[in-house]
């Protein structure tokens, strides 16, 4: 008996010390939310003359600005391969890069052939590779297109680098007078084009859903008026020129209507203008200031800023009129609200104790998440893929364009023009 017990103990001891071949399973629950390290090698170009556009540079800037990537500076690269057989993955692993973009540009007839490949550095395999023929003027656009594809491949987000933004700049002229310009540029700020300019203020640019038209407020006749301008033709049309305020025009999602602020009947109220019939419908009727209308993605509601409660807060009202309901309750000031494209969030300027910051409100819960840390951040606008918010921030005493990722983790100033830049509006993705 003792011996049996003894051997049992010994046996169980053995069993204990050799607990089978149960496979270890390690749970990874944390991870890090950092930008993905990625290298974009300068594209190969084997011609004597210089290319007008550094494609890799454009891609690097795009991906860097997106907030999703930490782009390796060119000076840190050990090699600069432009073809698969030249790639030594170990080198890139040693540099801590997850992904690698290589490519080359070759002349083809009157065009250029742009070729690129995206590699998974650790797996050592190609994830994507394309070739496209473009004209010289399309090189930059081709680069943005590559950025879009890389972004979508690696993050699942639709790229918006090929989209455009509208904004207003102010320059002080030698005469001391200010000059206001409405501009449209690539999303990276390049290739800006002036749409309208005036010595009087230009304000509140807004895109038509198809991206072909802009509405804006101009004081060019010393009175506020709302204009609609077609980008391609430059043709413009005055929509409203009522006495008092004509402001904050916003296209409905279907592009058929315009919500705007008018004070023609007394205090500023929200109106909806039918673009086809030109009929005006008054939506709010209140002694307080109601302004900055913005449509819900389904077009059923309009959210706007009102101080009917004493301080500016965001309210919602059916787009055909009705009872307004208050949406925001925290902070001293909530204004300039816009829905995200998916309708789940509302971005706004949120002020508390004098600091104006960009904040996101979860539509379902009403919870407000402050994204920025500036003192005078204003005019937020969602990127078409909802991943970033474009806004105007103060930097060094002037207003600059800034972008912040929707989780607030990534923020950067986009300095690409002289003067002050205000009221950015990101064009819809096409």
């Amino acid at each position: 008996m003792t011996r049996l017990l003894f051997s049992l103990i010994l046996f169980s001891g053995l069993v204990w010390s050799y607990p089978g071949k149960a496979e270890i399973s390690i749970e990874i629950t944390k991870g890090v939310e950092i930008a993905i390290p990625l290298a974009v090698v300068p594209f190969g170009w084997e011609q004597p003359h210089q290319l007008t556009v550094d494609v890799a540079d454009v891609i690097q800037a795009d991906l860097s600005r997106s907030g999703f990537f930490k782009v390796l500076p060119e000076r840190d690269m050990l090699t600069q391969p432009s073809a698969t057989e030249q790639v030594r993955f170990r080198n890139w692993q040693a540099l801590g890069q997850d992904y690698l973009v290589i490519g080359k540009v070759t002349p083809a007839m009157n065009k250029y052939q742009v070729q690129f490949q995206l590699f998974d550095v650790y797996k050592g395999e190609q994830l994507m590779g394309y070739r496209m023929d473009v004209t010289q003027s399309e090189l930059r656009s081709a680069a943005h297109h590559i950025s879009d594809m890389v972004l979508e491949k690696l993050t699942g987000k639709k790229g918006v680098f090929n989209s455009r933004i509208a904004y207003v700049t102010t320059h002080k002229q030698r005469t001391g007078k200010r000059r206001y310009q409405l501009k449209v540029a690539d999303a990276d700020g390049f290739q800006p084009k002036t749409i309208a300019e005036s010595s009087e203020p230009i304000m509140s640019p807004g895109w038509s859903p198809d991206g072909k038209q802009l509405v804006y407020v101009s004081f060019e006749r010393r009175r506020a008026a709302i204009y609609l301008q077609t980008l391609a033709s430059g043709k413009r049309e005055k929509l409203t020129g009522y006495k008092g305020i004509n402001g904050a025009p916003a296209f409905s999602p279907d592009g058929k209507k315009l919500a705007l602020t008018l004070s023609r009947d007394g205090s500023p109220d929200i109106y909806v203008l039918d673009l086809r019939t030109r009929k005006l419908q008054r939506i709010t009727r209140n002694y307080a200031i109601d302004t900055e209308p913005s449509w819900s993605p389904d077009g059923n509601h309009i959210i706007f800023t009102s101080d009917r409660g004493g301080k500016p807060q965001i309210y919602s009202i059916p787009s055909t009129g009705g009872r307004a309901t208050r949406l925001t309750f925290s902070g001293d000031y909530n204004a300039g609200a816009h829905y995200s494209k998916d309708g789940s969030q509302v971005v706004m300027v949120h002020a508390n104790r004098g600091d104006y910051r960009i904040a996101l409100m979860d539509v379902k819960t009403g919870a407000i998440n402050v994204l920025t840390g500036g003192r005078l951040d204003e005019s937020p606008s969602f990127a078409p893929n909802d991943t970033m918010i474009l806004f105007a921030a103060r930097q060094g005493g002037r207003s600059v364009l800034s972008a912040v990722s929707v989780d607030g983790s990534m923020q950067q100033h986009l300095v690409f023009d002289q003067g002050e830049i205000r009221e950015p509006a990101w064009a819809p993705a096409l």
Binding site: T2, F6, I9, L10, G13, L14, W16, S17, Y18, K21, E23, I24, S25, I26, E27, I28, T29, K30, G31, V32, E33, I34, A35, I36, F68, Q93, D98, D120, Y122, K123, L154, T155, G156, T387, S405, V406, D407, S409
Partner: protein
């Protein structure tokens, strides 16, 4: 029967009638003799005493007889005197006889007494002798008895001796048995002690082995735990969680390693359904290569050559 009862009276009457008739007939046959008057003699006859010659004869006879009787009485008297004399004589003779007899008797008695005395004397003597003999006999007996007793005693003593000897032998045997038993017990105890000692030695060895095994197991367990934590940390540090897409997703990745910890193979064995999430996980494992596996080759072979990661953002 009822019939009989019913007619019983008539029956009895009839029977009685018949019987009467029969009796009458019978009487008729036995009474043919005519009835006659019988005259019986009366006591008047006895009273009419009649003296007749018979009485005179009887008287005369009686007188004759009386005379005769007188003589006879005399005779009788004579005979009675004779007889009396004879009787007296007889009595005298008898007296003499008796005296004689008495004398003889006395003589006889004296003789008897004498004889008896002699006898008594003899008896006494005899008794004395007897007593003496008895005494002697008693003494002899006593002596004999004493002798017997002594003999018996001797025998007893002998027996006792034998008994004692036996007892002694028994005791000795018992003592020997006891000694033998004690020795056996000692021997058994020694065997047991030896066994116990052997067992203790074995147990000690086994315990040492077990302790060593346990120590090894503990060491391996600890090594496993610390390696697991280190690997987990390293992979966590290398996992760039996809922004805004990770919620609720998870995937399992199986890895095959070299003993150096270098990741030879990382395969998604259960996908999250999202390519980007899966790739981020796969990349994290590859990027964390070499993984900090235990230095113990045996432990590595057993547990770390192949294992899985579950990427499951909190």
């Amino acid at each position: 029967m009822d019939l009989l009862q019913k007619y019983s009276l008539s029956l009895v009457l009839s029977v009685a009638m018949h019987a009467l008739i029969i009796v009458l007939f019978a009487l008729g046959f036995t009474s043919p003799e005519p009835i006659k008057e019988i005259i019986k003699p009366t006591s008047e006859i006895i009273q009419a005493t009649v003296l007749d010659d018979q009485q005179v004869i009887a008287e005369a006879k009686r007188l004759q007889t009386a005379e005769k009787n007188k003589h006879e009485v005399e005779l009788d008297r004579q005979r009675a005197v004779n007889e009396k004399q004879q009787q007296e004589e007889a009595r005298l003779r008898q007296l003499q006889e008796r005296r004689k007899q008495e004398e003889q008797q006395a003589k006889k008695l004296a003789e008897q007494r004498k004889k008896e005395e002699a006898q008594a004397k003899a008896l006494v003597e005899k008794r004395k002798q007897q007593e003496k003999a008895e005494k002697l006999r008693q003494a002899a007996l006593k002596k004999k008895q004493a002798e017997e007793t002594a003999r018996l005693e001797k025998i007893k003593q002998q027996q006792r001796e034998v008994q004692r000897q036996l007892e002694l032998q028994k005791q000795r045997a018992a003592e020997q048995e006891k000694q033998r038993k004690l020795a056996e017990q000692k021997r058994q105890q020694k065997i047991l002690a030896d066994q116990a000692a052997a067992q203790a030695r074995q147990e000690a060895v086994a315990q040492q082995q077990q302790a060593a095994a346990q120590a090894l197991a503990a060491q391996q367990k600890q090594a496993t735990a610390s390696a697991t934590v280190a690997i987990q940390q390293k992979v966590n540090n290398h996992w760039i969680r996809p922004l805004n897409t990770s919620k609720g997703l998870n995937c399992t990745i199986q890895v095959k390693l070299l003993s150096s910890g270098d990741v030879m193979e990382a395969v998604v064995i259960r996908s999250s359904g999202h390519t980007i999430f899966d790739r981020s996980a796969e990349n994290a494992v590859r990027k964390a290569s070499p993984l900090p596996v235990p230095e113990d080759k045996q432990l590595f072979a057993r547990k770390f050559r192949t294992f899985t990661f579950v990427f499951k953002p909190e």
